[in-house]
C-alpha cells in the first residue's frame, strides 16, 4: 500500500507541475496560435495525465483528459484552428483536471462530481470544427505509426477511426486489435515508438523532500558554528598543519553553506506562471484587455519567501487589473492602446530581491483617495490639505481602506492592501507605491533573499542575550555618564529621549520581559527601532556585536509569546532568543500609543476607545447574534454529532483526542434563546493551560483581519465589549470570564 501511495503522490506532484505550466502555455498559445512546439507540449502534458490516470484507475479523470487530448491532437496536427472559445473550453478542462487531482489528494479517488457536461461541451467543440475534415487526416499518431510500419492498411485505420469518432469508447489500438487488423504485439511496439519519440524528462533533475533539505540546512548551520569555534581556537595555535586544515575547513564550510542554501532557491517564475491565467480570467470577466509582460522570472528566492509573497502578489496583480487598467474604450479615449499592459519585473539588488508590478492604467485618483479617507474619518480635512502626495498614497495601506468604489467579487475579498503590507513586512520586506494620474501605478516590493539566515544585532539585557533583526534597526545611541540621567525625560511617567528634536519613546527591554534590573551602569544604550512605521528606543544593558544568525523556530509551547520571532544558536553553543520588534512594540504599547500624524490613532483618541488590531473569528449564536473572539485563541474548529455529547457532573462534555473536553454552550450561558437544533454541532476549540474547551456556536461566519474599535468594556462581564466588524455590530467574547468555573480554571 505504501508503494502505491508513493506512486499516487508522485503522479499528483508531477501532474500539478504540468498543469501550472499548462496555464502558462495556453495563454502563450492564444498569442501565438500556430506554435507547434507549444501545442505539442500541451498535448504531451494532457496525454501523460490521461495515460497515468488510466493505469492508476481514475476513470473520470481519464475520460476528461481523453476528450482534451483528442481536441489537442487535432490542433497539433493542424486539423483545427485555435479560437478563444476553444481555449476557454480547454482551460475549463484543465480546471476540471485540477479539481479531480485535489479530490484524489484528499480522498484517493477522483470523486463523484459529474463531468459529462464538460465532456459533451468539449466533444461538441470538436465536432463543430472537424465536420469537414477528412477522417484519415485526423488519425492520431498511433494510427500513423501503425500505417508507416505496415502493420495496418490505411483503409482499416480509416474504419477504426470512423468507429471511434462514432462514439466507440475503445482506444484506436484496441479497435484494431479487436477487429483483427493487427496483433497486440504490433500495437505495443507502436506505442513504444510513440513514447520514444516524445522527449523524456531531463534526468539531471531529482525531486527531493523539502524536509530533507531543511534538515541539511540545520546540519550546515551547526557545522558553521563548529567551524567558528575551531577558528576561534586557532588564534592561539602555532601548528602549521592544524592552521591550514582549519583554513580548508573554513573554505569548504562556506561553500557547502552556499550550496545548501541554493537548493532551497526557486525562480520567481514558478510563482509568476500562475499570474497570466489569473489576469486572463479577470480581464475576460471584466471585458478588459490586458497583456502581461514578465522580466526577470529567473530571479531566485528562498522557497519559504516565495510562498509568503504568493498571496500578496496575486492580490496586487488582481488590484491592478480590476482598478488600475481601464476599459478598452476609456483607454482609447485617453490616447492609449486598447490593450493594457501589466509588467512584472524582478531583479537582485544588494542582497535583496526587488519586485516591481506596474500597470499603465489610470493611476490612483488622489482626490478620490482623499475624499474616501475623509469619509472614513481616517484623516481630518485640514490634514488632508497639508499632506504631501506621497503620504496620501500611503493611505491605501491603512487598515479598513478600500479605494474600490464598489466591492467587486474580484477585489474586496477581505485582503486589503494593509494585509499585503503586513504580510510583506512580516518577512522583512518593504512595500512602496508610486502612481502618476493617467499614467499608471507601480508597486515596488523589496524582500530579503532568504529568511533562514539574517543579519542581527546581539544585545544583552537582564543578563540574557537577545538577537534583534537588523531590518528593523535604525541607529544606536549611547548616553554616557551624567548625560544618561539628564537626557532621559519623563512624559507623564513615560520615559522619552530627544532624538534630533523629536521625542523618542523609550522601552526598557528588561522591564518588558520581566527580567532583573540591570546593574548600575555608567551609560545607557538605546537601540532605535522601527515597527509598523513607528519609531521607539529599546533600552538594553549592552550592545555586543552584529552577526549573521541562523533563524530557528520556537516550539509549539512558546508560539503564543509574541515578542520572540524565534531562536538562534550563538557561537558558544548557547541559545539566544530573537526579538520580534513588532511584538515588543505591541506589549510595550508603542503601537497603540497616541502618535501625531497617525490617522487611526487620532481617531481612536477622539472616540476614547481601544484599538486592537488582530485577526478575529466571527460566528453566530442563538440564530443571529454575531460574536467574535481573537483568532489567536482558537486552536481548532470541530464538528461533533449531537449524539456524541455526554455529561460529567453538571458539565456538558465530549470525548476529544482521547481526553474529555468540557463544552460551553454560549447561547445558553448568555441566556439567549437556543438556536435551531441540528444534528452536528459547530464547536470552536479553545486551549488554555493545556486543557481544551469547546465553545458551541451556531455557525462560523468568517475570519476577519481588521483593527477593531471596542466600544464598551466591562472587564468582569462575559462580553469584552462590542465592535463593528464587517459593517455589523459584533460582540467580543471575554473568554477568560466565560471559562471560569470549568475544569480549565480548576487546573490552575
Amino acid at each position: 500500500m505504501g508503494e502505491w501511495d508513493e506512486i499516487i503522490k508522485e503522479f499528483l506532484v508531477e501532474s500539478s507541475e504540468n498543469l501550472d505550466q499548462l496555464d502558462q502555455d495556453f495563454i502563450e498559445l492564444e498569442k501565438n496560435p500556430s506554435s507547434k512546439e507549444l501545442l505539442s507540449r500541451i498535448f504531451r502534458a494532457i496525454h501523460t495525465v490521461k495515460g497515468t490516470s488510466g493505469v492508476l484507475g481514475f476513470p473520470k479523470l481519464e475520460s476528461v483528459a481523453h476528450v482534451g487530448e483528442n481536441l489537442l491532437s487535432l490542433l497539433r496536427d493542424g486539423e483545427m484552428k485555435l479560437d478563444p472559445e476553444l481555449i476557454s473550453g480547454l482551460l475549463a478542462m484543465v480546471d476540471a483536471i485540477r479539481e479531480m487531482l485535489r479530490q484524489i489528494e484528499a480522498s484517493a479517488n477522483d470523486g463523484d462530481k459529474d463531468y459529462s457536461a464538460l465532456i459533451e461541451q468539449l466533444s461538441a467543440l470538436k465536432a463543430k470544427r472537424v465536420e469537414a475534415a477528412a477522417q484519415e487526416q485526423g488519425s492520431p499518431k498511433i494510427g500513423r505509426i501503425l500505417v508507416d510500419s505496415g502493420a495496418v492498411q490505411k483503409e482499416q485505420l480509416a474504419q477504426a477511426v470512423a468507429l471511434q469518432s462514432g462514439g466507440d469508447p475503445r482506444r484506436l489500438g484496441e479497435i484494431l486489435i479487436d477487429s483483427g487488423a493487427v496483433k497486440p504485439r504490433e500495437v505495443l511496439d507502436a506505442l513504444q515508438v510513440q513514447s520514444e519519440s516524445s522527449p523524456g524528462l531531463s534526468s539531471s533533475n531529482l525531486r527531493v523532500d523539502v524536509n530533507l533539505l531543511d534538515k541539511l540546512m540545520n546540519l550546515v548551520g551547526e557545522l558553521v558554528l563548529a567551524r567558528n569555534q575551531v577558528l576561534q581556537f586557532t588564534a592561539g595555535q602555532q601548528d602549521a598543519t592544524f592552521l591550514s586544515t582549519a583554513q580548508r575547513l573554513n573554505l569548504i564550510t562556506t561553500e557547502l553553506q552556499e550550496g545548501v542554501m541554493k537548493t532551497r532557491m526557486q525562480p520567481i517564475g514558478n510563482l509568476w506562471n500562475r499570474l497570466p491565467r489569473v489576469v486572463r480570467d479577470l480581464a475576460v470577466g471584466l471585458g478588459k484587455k490586458v497583456r502581461v509582460e514578465m522580466d526577470g522570472s529567473e530571479t531566485e528566492l528562498d522557497k519559504t519567501i516565495l510562498e509568503a509573497i504568493k498571496d500578496p502578489l496575486t492580490h496586487i496583480v488582481r488590484n491592478a487589473v480590476d482598478h488600475g487598467i481601464e476599459m478598452p474604450g476609456e483607454r482609447v479615449q485617453a490616447g492609449k492602446s486598447e490593450e493594457g499592459a501589466l509588467r512584472l519585473h524582478a531583479y537582485h539588488e544588494g542582497g535583496q530581491v526587488n519586485i516591481e508590478i506596474s500597470d499603465d492604467g489610470s493611476g490612483i485618483n488622489l482626490s478620490r483617495l482623499k475624499q474616501k479617507a475623509l469619509e472614513k474619518g481616517l484623516i481630518t480635512g485640514e490634514a488632508a490639505a497639508r499632506m504631501p502626495e506621497r503620504e496620501l498614497l500611503n493611505l491605501i495601506f491603512l487598515p479598513g481602506f478600500s479605494t474600490a468604489q464598489n466591492v467587486t467579487n474580484i477585489s474586496g475579498r477581505g485582503v486589503g492592501m494593509d494585509v499585503v503590507k503586513t504580510n510583506i513586512e512580516k518577512i522583512g520586506g518593504v512595500v512602496d507605491l508610486h502612481s502618476d494620474a493617467g499614467q499608471g501605478t507601480t508597486i515596488k516590493i523589496k524582500i530579503p533573499l532568504t529568511l533562514a539566515i539574517i543579519p542581527a544585532l546581539i544585545a544583552s539585557s537582564g543578563g540574557e542575550r537577545f538577537a534583534i533583526p537588523q531590518v528593523s534597526l535604525l541607529e544606536l545611541v549611547r548616553l554616557e555618564g551624567d548625560e544618561s540621567r539628564r537626557a532621559i525625560e519623563k512624559f507623564h511617567g513615560a520615559p522619552v529621549y530627544r532624538l534630533r528634536g523629536n521625542l523618542l519613546p523609550l522601552v526598557y527591554l528588561n522591564r518588558e520581559l520581566k527580567l532583573r534590573d540591570s546593574d548600575a551602569h555608567s551609560g545607557v544604550n538605546i537601540v532605535v527601532l522601527q515597527a509598523d512605521g513607528r519609531q521607539f528606543g529599546l533600552v538594553v544593558d549592552e550592545i555586543n556585536d552584529t552577526e549573521e544568525i541562523v533563524v530557528k523556530p520556537l516550539g509549539k509551547q512558546l508560539k503564543g509569546i509574541s515578542c520572540f520571532a524565534g531562536a538562534t544558536i550563538m557561537g558558544d553553543g548557547r541559545v539566544a532568543l530573537i526579538l520580534d520588534v513588532m511584538g515588543i512594540a505591541q506589549i510595550a504599547s508603542v503601537i497603540t500609543e497616541i502618535h501625531e500624524g497617525s490617522a487611526i490613532e487620532a481617531a481612536s483618541r477622539q472616540d476614547d476607545t481601544v484599538v486592537g488590531r488582530d485577526a478575529w473569528l466571527v460566528f453566530t449564536v442563538a440564530g443571529s447574534r454575531r460574536m467574535a473572539i481573537p483568532l489567536s485563541m482558537v486552536s481548532r474548529l470541530e464538528e461533533f454529532p449531537v449524539t456524541s455529547l455526554e455529561h460529567s457532573g453538571n458539565e456538558l462534555v465530549v470525548q476529544y483526542r482521547g481526553m474529555i473536553m468540557p463544552l460551553i454552550d454560549i447561547a445558553r450561558r448568555m441566556n439567549h434563546q437556543l438556536g435551531k437544533q441540528t444534528e452536528t454541532l459547530q464547536v470552536i476549540v479553545y486551549s488554555d493551560a493545556g486543557r481544551s474547551i469547546g465553545l458551541i456556536v451556531d455557525q462560523i461566519v468568517d475570519i476577519v483581519d481588521q483593527s477593531v474599535k471596542i466600544e464598551q468594556q466591562e472587564s468582569a462581564s462575559e462580553l469584552a465589549g462590542s465592535a463593528v466588524i464587517q459593517d455589523k455590530v459584533t460582540d467580543l467574547l471575554n473568554l477568560a470570564v466565560l471559562v471560569k468555573g470549568t475544569a480549565v480554571q480548576e487546573m490552575k
Partner: protein, 141 residues
C-alpha cells in the same frame, strides 16, 4: 498491555517515574538553558541539542511538585511527542526498567486533580511504585 514492557525511569522529588522507552530519543546530562521571559512557569528554557533548539519543560513544576534546590542540576530526558521533540527536566536518571503488565493500576481517586491525566497509573514494583508519565498530556502545557 499484555507483554512485559520497558520504561526509561527517572526520579523527581523522591518519586520514581517511567516513560516508554520507545518515546525517549535520548537522555543527556545537564545542559545550559536559555530562559524564555514571559513564558509559563513550567517552561524551563531552551537547550541546544546538536543544532536543534528544544524546549525544556520543568517537570517538577508541571507536576506541581516543589522546586529543585539551586545546587541541584537537572538532567534532560528528550522525548518525542506529537508536538515535536521536547526535553523533560528531571532530578536524576534511573535504569531502564522492565515491568510486568499485570502489575499496573490506574491512579487512585484521591490523586489531586491537577496532576490527573499526566500520570496514567503505576506499576507496582517490589519495593516501590513506578509512576507512568503521559508525555502527550504533559505537553499540553
Amino acid at each position: 498491555m499484555a507483554a512485559n514492557r520497558q520504561f526509561c525511569s527517572f526520579y523527581l522529588d523522591g518519586l520514581f517515574f517511567g516513560v516508554e522507552v520507545e518515546k525517549v530519543q535520548e537522555v543527556i546530562r545537564h545542559q545550559e538553558q536559555t530562559p524564555v521571559p514571559l513564558a509559563p512557569r513550567v517552561i524551563g528554557g531552551l537547550i541546544n541539542l546538536r543544532g536543534q533548539i528544544v524546549t525544556a519543560i520543568d517537570l517538577r513544576r508541571r507536576l506541581e511538585l516543589s522546586d529543585r534546590s539551586d545546587d541541584q542540576k537537572a538532567m534532560n530526558v528528550v522525548v518525542r511527542t506529537d508536538e515535536g521533540v521536547v526535553s523533560l527536566l528531571v532530578d536524576e536518571i534511573g535504569d531502564v526498567v522492565e515491568v510486568e503488565a499485570q502489575g499496573f493500576e490506574p491512579p487512585p481517586d484521591t490523586l489531586q486533580s491537577g496532576v490527573r491525566g499526566m500520570i496514567r497509573g503505576a506499576f507496582k514494583l517490589k519495593d516501590r511504585l513506578l509512576l507512568l508519565l503521559d508525555t502527550e498530556c504533559v505537553m499540553k502545557a
